[in-house]
Symmetry: C2
Subunit: 605 residues, 2 copies
């Protein structure tokens, strides 16, 4: 077990090695931007699909819509820059909303993001697997299995530790950026040299049947290209010194690359007259139009596949950190606070991996219809964190607060509009949000309430008098006269002022026999025999314990039940012995509140 873990995860690291695990800008860009960048593989397509539903004439609208998306992107990047400087200890939307808008706003933001990271992993890995199985149709039957294996691999990479996974992950991300840039460059070169005529109707053509509703729907679909931009702001503490500055630099780099890739693909898609097809992606169509199906095309497709799968990694970087913040505030189980052998928050990593695998299995790898849910789950915390920043500026009124306020105000407005558009145009796909968000917020509160109440109950109060005990009554259930029992009785005599042995008989003959044997063996210890006509050990024992306990309390004695247990040499031997001692212990401890001592007796063979 331990060896397997070592092999998969690596040897444990000392806590002092934590500083060394921090990210430089180049690695951070790779690790935190794969989600955002990979969005260009499906974002443009989402816009074209909506436009195609109107008419071929409507495709020119993709250009103004793309411009709107880019404006939104710029607003988000500028807003998040301010978030990073204002909250250099990370936490992103959750911290910002909680500190400025109150507990529930923070919880809604945090929860949306937690779920979103799970969706990120499920959606991107499924999309990447689809890309792979489209290339190799013989693998199609194993889609779910392959996707799950990918999730497991990424989980293991993350359990190994942040920098090691970054080293591996930087290559595909940069390769993808390079490949798409090559595609855009090649396309522009051909267009400039007149190699490709313009296909679609010119910008401004009148389109019959067009409506604001449809254009808004197309715009909101395109917003799915912006998922993932918040990742940097959550991960500020992971950066090398100075973290805030490095994080902002990374954010801007990511924003710029994303803008270039998105704009390039949108423009080429429009110029080349690409219409979305069920069996081929838009990127694939553009690439094959420009280069034909040669090695350049396959490089583009291959890196797209890779980055889609690796986009999941963003979720793995952000989820555990967010979980730590929520756990520190006692809204989720405190196990998310524990650092694993390799200093990563292993419980968060494993939980995320498991939840994603569950989603993939439930949806049989067809997680595409989760995309709208995923996008709205991003824009709710976007809106909340912008609003939080606004209140912050208004309250603090620090130097230059007006210009900062304006930036966040614009950001908040745009994000709120996007959320509204989502609810209006895609209600059938996003309604579950309205159920799950309040439900989980309620759960968070319940958990916090429990933790607070436990703390109160455990806190030592000077006023309460502490209960001093005068003696100890020890009860030893015995199954016969053996070395195990002898061993336990010795111990019982050592710790107890009164020692009682109990024997539960299933028939009268064995009851009498045991009594006689005991009289000869240990006449000094009192044996109580109980006859159990329903063949249960627990029931008659419980009745006896109730009586003994009442008496012990009268004399201010504690009651201890000593359970003899022999430990077998080989693990499989355990099934050969009825584990009645184990069950009895759990029963007494959890339901009867009795102190239970297990005295082990090790078998040598």
């Amino acid at each position: 077990m331990r060896d397997l873990k070592r092999f998969l995860v690596g040897r444990p690291l000392k806590s002092s090695a934590l500083k060394e695990q921090r990210l430089n800008k180049l690695k951070a860009l790779a690790i935190l931007s794969s989600d955002a960048l990979s969005s260009v593989a499906y974002g443009p397509e989402q816009i074209l699909i909506v436009l195609a539903s109107i008419s071929l004439l409507a495709f020119w609208y993709s250009i103004p819509i793309a411009l709107c998306v880019l404006i939104l992107l710029a607003a988000l990047i500028l807003s998040y820059r301010q978030v990073i400087y204002a909250y250099p200890s990370g936490g992103g939307a959750y911290i910002v909303s909680r500190n400025n808008l109150g507990e529930n706003a923070g919880l809604i933001a945090g929860e949306s993001l937690l779920i979103d990271y799970i969706l990120t992993v499920a959606v991107s890995v499924s999309a990447g697997t689809d890309a792979l199985t489209s290339a190799f149709p013989q693998l199609h039957d194993f889609t779910v299995l392959i996707a799950c294996v990918f999730v497991v691999l990424i989980t293991l990479l993350n359990l190994r530790g942040v920098t090691e996974s970054a080293s591996i992950l930087s290559y595909p991300v940069y390769l993808f950026v390079f490949a798409i840039l090559v595609m855009i460059g090649g396309g522009l070169w051909k267009i400039v040299n007149g190699g490709i005529p313009q296909h679609h109707t010119p910008i401004g053509t009148f389109v019959p049947g067009i409506s604001l509703f449809l254009l808004l729907k197309a715009f909101s679909s395109g917003c799915s290209a912006l998922t993932g931009v918040e990742a940097v702001s959550n991960a500020v503490p992971n950066f090398k010194e100075p973290p805030a500055k490095n994080a902002v630099y990374t954010l801007f780099m990511m924003g710029s690359i994303l803008a270039v890739l998105f704009a390039g693909i949108m423009f080429l898609g429009y110029w080349l007259g690409i219409t979305p097809k069920a069996e081929e992606t838009v990127v694939s169509q553009i690439a094959s139009e420009i280069f034909g199906r040669n090695w350049v095309y396959f490089m583009i497709q291959g890196t797209t596949m890779l980055i889609l799968i690796l986009a999941a990694n963003t979720g793995f970087s952000a989820f555990p950190l967010l979980a730590v913040n929520l756990a520190r505030d006692k809204y989720i189980p405190r196990m998310f606070l524990i650092r694993g052998d390799r200093l990563g928050y292993s419980n968060g990593i494993v939980t995320l991996g498991a939840a994603a695998i569950l989603l993939i299995i439930i949806f049989r790898g067809e997680t595409e219809h989760l995309i709208p849910l995923y996008a709205i789950g991003v824009f709710i915390p976007f809106t909340l964190s912008q609003c939080g920043m606004i209140t912050k500026w208004v309250r603090e009124k620090s130097v230059g607060w007006v210009s900062k306020l304006v930036v966040n105000l614009i950001g908040a407005m745009i994000c709120f509009i996007v959320v509204t558009i989502f609810f209006v145009t895609k209600f059938t796909q996003v309604w579950p949000v309205l159920i799950f968000v309040p439900l989980i917020v309620y759960l968070f509160h319940r958990i916090k309430k429990h933790y607070v109440s436990v703390e109160e109950q455990l806190r030592l109060t000077e006023t309460e008098k502490t209960l001093q005990l005068d003696g100890n009554v020890v009860l030893v259930p015995v199954a016969g006269i053996t070395k195990v029992v002898e061993n336990s009785l010795h111990y019982a005599e050592l710790i107890g002022d009164t020692v009682l042995a109990v024997y539960v008989a299933f028939d009268r003959e064995s009851e009498i026999e045991m009594k006689q044997k005991w009289e000869q063996w240990r006449p000094n210890i009192r044996l109580i025999t109980l006859y159990s006509q329903y063949r249960s050990i627990t029931q008659p024992l419980t009745r006896l314990i109730d009586i003994v306990q009442a008496k012990a309390q009268e004399n201010n004695h504690s009651l201890t039940v000593v359970i003899p247990q022999f430990i077998t040499k080989k693990r499989w031997h355990d099934i050969l012995h009825n584990q009645s001692g184990l069950l009895l212990r759990l029963y007494l401890l959890y339901l009867k509140n009795i102190i239970v001592t297990t005295v082990p007796y090790r078998l040598k063979k």
Copy 2:
């Protein structure tokens, strides 16, 4: 939990109610013969399938083959009559073989039967479900699920207790017998009145390409109609007084009914010129030929379905009793000896149900190709028990032993020949027997060796001096200063001569802080702080325990680790607390052999 169990299984019965649970002849016939009788639903078909592979001319051979099967049946019934009288305490093939031929012969017989009962359940329930889904094709997709539900229902019936399941099960068995008798009677009536001409070639026609090999194969296939006849001999102790006599009566009744049904179906099949079809059973063909598809036909089909599913019940009556015999002799885990709430051997019943469900799921409900394995698994113990009887007569030479010897000798020879024919004609289907039989016999021996060795180790020997302890060192791992810890320390001071508190710190700051706080709170108890740079609690603690234990042993003191544990009010709260105490306990107990005391502290909210 308990209420659900009560509802499904019924209220517990007193041990003294055991006598009342015994079977009268009529119920015993129903409960023990459903397996044997249901065999006529597929036995005749198995013969015809082999003959059909030769040529249509060969069908007349079904009559002499059927006669051979009937002779074999008569031999078996007579032999088992002698087994029942000789071994009125039941046990059948296992007991007979073990007592007369030695341990290994007994184990082979016992093991074959155990596996056979599992196969009985899986095969009959699958066949019954097939019958159902053939009638209602829309259910076909749910075959496996339906079969599993049937197994669960039969398991529950058996958990409720023997007589109650018998009451429910007697109706379908008798209905089936009645339905098949109606069919045979109706067929004979029509034939006598000239309603149906003879279809097949007359007996004695020369068949080109016929070989002894094929005829033997057909015969061995027909032997599958005899599976289940041993059930009565295993269940003798379940009968009302006088058990042996009642059992023999039941055995004869079952044999006669089986003979009549089998002979009738074989004859009608031959006379009506039935050829086996993939989509319709032989019984169904005969019934529709005689009656057409009216209510009589559906009654025959319906009761056939029912009895196939209920045939599984024979396995449920016999398996637990055989398991008790094997467990008493220490060859299988002793949990099979425990009587459940309703006095049945619940562990055997549940194990059988689970194993059958596993087989059904693995074979996706298509368990038909397990039939040969199942048949040979019956004839191996048949042969062994007959051989055992022979040695018994030769050794004891009691009154009339020669005639008894002759009966068993004939039985043994025929059974041995059948086994040989199986191996020769169906080797590709029965080879797994050659692997599993020795493997499981080996496992049985290993288990017995373990039990014997444990007994030796636990036995008290007068010569060994008993170790008296002079004192108790108590170690209390503490996670902070709370009421739980206070509570545990009180207890530790009560039972210990030396009390040590241990605190494991993950960073230097908390280590220093804890030391200072402790000094103010409990200066009289020594606190040892350990710094764990790998964030593990177990490792540094183990090192400390090793040191403390060595010192304790020097002074002839015992070492107790007291683990404070707070018990949450609601079960779901448990996931909110890291169960490090639980893990520590298991580690210390099983790997370090330390006495562990858990002091519960119950939360009130």
